[in-house]
């Protein structure tokens, strides 16, 4: 078959057009298009509050006493052996391209080919081993340092790309998650022998300077394995106060990105000069219950859970950005149990019926502790709504503010007359950690509140033996929700606002706990 020259040209043009459209249809502008808009020397400025980052100024993850608090800074310099996906629900490759659980006590990693530190030295399994043994040697010296390596028996390095962690306990499953955090960072040998004058890592950026409590300056690391996707010339982390002052710094142009509360984010959403993103994390607003006294009665607990209008609470507390829940896992999690998601829909009449069935008399007094720091408006709002809702059932609710951790421990954990604690449950990508601290034997909460749930613990132990089968976790979730052993309300979103006039690319709010933003593809626009 022969084509006329005109038809041949038309077909060629059509094919060319189709090829140009493919990347657009497949997911936005092509990387080339982004890099052509990017200023290769552009430095993005990320505002976070340094007050909670109790620095030691050595920037050595193995010596950190604030553990996760320094993650935001360190992750850009060191990266981690494994990473979390943007939703914070799954482990994805990092410096290691793959991992496998060899047996319940052994985790094996395969490093990427050709990894280098920012000074050009190679990063192989030997460097990982030296770094981990260094962190292990330093951890017993201080109760606040990382505990990940306490049960490490041996680090095997059969070849330059393979690392095998052998633990003395069945911790391989948990270790994969830990390696996405501080314990997954590898430091250069000069940081181990103390000869380094500044931090040396294999992350996307390299350390430039630090002005105490002011600014942490980094420039792009050309030796990063994924350097071609880093379009920023540098990154400054700038100390800004949380709340309105931080947003004012964004508005004034002093910074380009800042995490913010939900109400402010809502105000900024739709304004052309700002980009906004809100991502659910694993941390959730929750009412912990002490399963004694009236709370030992399952019908009573179900009545309390049914009496909470979660949607309205989320609107009041998180401007409607949060994901309401009755279980400890968000919808994006593989451990989310759909079958119980519809339980405890808000109904005053149903709640009153359940209360009647429980036999707990109207007028019963409940003492609910909440974190009463002046700045913690969200917790205060949540506690007040809970009080007003439960008082509609005829209960008397006494709210007890506890200003800080020791007060919370004293008022709630160690005070048997408290019935509950309205707060946030700090989430974890590790599905076991997400519940173990409250319901497993030997853990503080369980020990102090008679809240040990043997059924739950047994199911999680079964899951740990074969993590590929999530059925035991789903069953445990069902048990926890049906028995209303706690009253989850909504997952807490992390919110980010940025200067859309200056920054481009796929910017997404950071995951919970770590506060670090993935910067692949993010760029400073030319001329800005």
């Amino acid at each position: 078959m022969s084509l006329s020259p005109f038809r041949r040209v038309t077909r060629v043009l059509a094919l060319a057009l189709a090829l140009m459209l493919v990347p657009v249809v497949a997911g936005g502008a092509p990387a080339g298009a982004q890099s052509s808009k990017a200023d290769p020397n552009g430095v993005a400025r990320y505002g976070i509050n340094f007050v909670n980052f109790l620095f030691q100024d050595n920037f050595n993850p193995a010596l950190s006493t604030s553990v996760d608090a320094e993650f935001t800074f360190f992750d850009y310099i060191y990266d981690t052996l494994l990473n979390q996906n943007k939703e914070g629900t799954a482990v994805v490759p990092g410096l290691a391209e793959s991992y496998k659980i060899v047996d319940p006590s052994t985790l094996e990693l395969k490093l990427r080919q050709g990894l280098k530190f920012n000074n050009g030295d190679p990063l192989t399994s030997a460097e990982v081993k030296a770094s981990v043994l260094y962190a292990q040697a330093n951890s017993p010296g201080d109760a606040r340092r990382m505990k990940t390596w306490v049960n490490l028996l041996e680090v095997q390095t059969p070849d330059p790309l393979t690392v095998r962690f052998v633990m003395s306990k069945p911790e391989a499953f948990s270790l994969q998650f830990q390696l996405t955090l501080l314990p997954g960072m590898v430091v250069h040998k000069s940081m181990i022998d103390g000869t380094a004058t500044k931090p040396v890592g294999a992350g996307p950026f390299q350390f430039e300077s630090y002005t105490r409590e002011q600014i942490f300056k980094m420039k792009k690391n050309p030796n990063f394995y994924n350097a071609k996707k880093i379009l920023l010339g540098g990154l400054d982390i700038v100390n800004v106060p949380l709340g309105p002052e931080g947003v004012a710094a964004l508005r004034s142009g002093a910074i380009d990105m800042v995490t913010t509360d939900a109400v402010t984010l809502k105000q900024l959403t739709g304004q052309k000069q700002f980009g906004t993103s809100s991502m659910p994390g694993n941390t959730y607003y929750n009412v912990y219950l002490r399963l004694t006294g009236p709370m030992a009665n399952v019908k009573f607990r179900q009545a309390l859970s049914t009496m909470l209008d979660r949607e309205a609470m989320d609107e009041a507390v998180q401007a409607g950005f949060g994901e309401t829940t009755v279980q400890p896992y968000p919808k994006a999690s593989p451990y989310y149990n759909k079958s119980v998601a519809g339980l405890y829909k808000y109904s005053e009449s149903k709640a009153k019926k359940l209360l009647e069935e429980s036999g707990v008399p109207s007028g019963t007094q409940l003492s609910i502790v909440y974190p009463g720091q002046a700045a913690n408006v969200e917790q205060l709002r949540q506690a007040e709504i809970i009080k007003s809702q439960w008082e509609k059932l005829g209960l008397k609710v006494n709210l007890i503010p506890a200003p800080d951790t020791p007060a919370i421990i004293s008022q709630y954990y160690n005070n048997p007359s408290s019935n509950g604690f309205s707060a946030t449950t700090v989430g974890s990508i590790n599905p076991i950690t997400q519940v173990s601290g409250r319901f497993f034997a030997g853990q503080f909460v369980a020990t102090n509140q008679s809240s040990v749930l043997p059924n739950v613990e047994a199911l999680y132990l079964k899951f740990q033996e074969n993590p590929k089968d999530v059925a035991p976790v789903l069953e445990a979730v069902k048990y926890m929700v049906e028995n209303a052993v706690e009253i989850p309300i909504a997952f807490r979103n992390r919110n980010l606002a940025w200067d859309a006039d200056r920054l481009g690319g796929p910017i997404v709010a950071p995951t919970e706990v770590t506060d670090n933003i993935e910067l692949e593809g993010v760029y400073v626009k030319k001329g800005k």
């Binding site: 340094f50 007050v51 909670n52 604030s66 109760a143 004012a248």
Partner: protein
């Protein structure tokens, strides 16, 4: 005069002992167990908590702990930060100039603004200017410094984009940048203090201007500025000195919030971070330092008072 100063210094000893004991007792008065909190809160194992308690010496009787702490403190050793492991005394020494520069600028604004406004109001007593000053100073006293700080940020940083809302540049590095970063903190702290000074000066000057010796000076044909500046203001300055001394001490305390709003790395930011992390040696050391400054400033005010008014040292 020397006897007066020695007497005042001796009186400080029991006062400082009481203050230091109260500061130290923070450990006891604060709810909960700091060792438990430092060891990791609810996740901490009992042996970890015990280890931290032992490290901190929290298992000793309170008076033993106090004696040990005081003994070190008088030798300039305020302990080390639980988190950063840096010397608290060194940190205070390095941060004090920053906080001092915030407070001294604010006191300068309050002095210049407060004195001039107070004098103008007193000289125009009952007129529109006086009423406007009364209204303005009421407003100045009512406005909390943190709110004023936010307003200044919105006006000068967000809308006009003239000044940086965050950061600090040391004077030795760039004096212009230093001043441009501190002008909003100075105003936020200084305006409230200026209102207070203005009211004191206005009231005192009105009283003095009514005195016979002022009338005599006027009848002698002295120029108005000489009557006010040389005769009236000297006597009217007494209450203002007292207010300024107290204001300076309060301004040092006020820097805690202001430093945090403008992210200035002074004592305020330091103590706020320490409170957040339950870093007890830092909290104790910084609060003790603030208390000492407060007491010393009061002493200086008393001495100044005695210099200006001989009746004080005679009594």
């Amino acid at each position: 005069m020397l006897t007066f100063i020695v007497r005042r210094l001796l009186a400080l000893i029991p006062l400082m002992l009481i203050v230091s004991f109260l500061v130290f007792s923070l450990v006891v008065f604060l709810p909960g167990d700091p060792a438990e909190s430092i060891a990791g809160g609810t996740d901490a194992a009992p042996e970890q908590i015990e280890k931290v308690r032992n490290e901190l010496g929290l298992d000793d009787p309170l008076l033993v702990q106090y004696g040990r702490w005081l003994g070190d403190a008088v030798q300039g050793d305020l302990g080390t930060s639980l988190y950063t492991k840096r010397s608290v005394a060194d940190e205070i020494v390095s941060r004090f100039p920053v906080t001092f520069s915030v407070a001294i600028g604010a006191i300068f604004i309050s002095l210049v603004l407060g004195m001039s406004v107070g004098i103008v109001a007193a000289l125009r007593q009952g007129h529109f200017t006086d009423r406007a000053v009364i209204f303005g100073t009421s407003l100045g006293l009512a406005m909390p410094s943190f709110w004023l700080a936010l307003m200044l940020i919105i006006i000068f940083s967000v809308n006009l984009q003239w000044l940086d809302s965050i950061g600090y540049v040391p004077f030795t590095e760039n004096p212009v940048e230093w001043a441009s970063h501190l002008i909003m903190p100075w105003l936020a702290l200084g305006i409230g203090a200026a209102a207070s000074v203005a009211r004191q000066v206005r009231g005192a000057l009105i009283d003095v201007l009514d005195q016979d010796y002022v009338r005599t000076a006027r009848s002698k044909g002295l120029a108005g500025y000489k009557v006010v500046g040389k005769h009236a203001l000297k006597n009217a300055a007494m209450p203002a000195i007292t207010v300024l001394g107290i204001q300076f001490a309060y301004l040092l305390g006020g820097t805690v919030i202001i430093e945090s709003i403008f992210t200035i790395p002074g004592l305020g930011t330091y103590v706020l971070g320490a409170i957040s992390g339950r870093d007890l040696p830092v909290i104790q050391g910084t609060v003790l330092m603030m208390a000492v400054i407060f007491v010393v400033i009061n002493l200086v005010v008393d001495i100044l008072y005695a210099v200006v008014n001989p009746k004080v040292r005679l009594s």
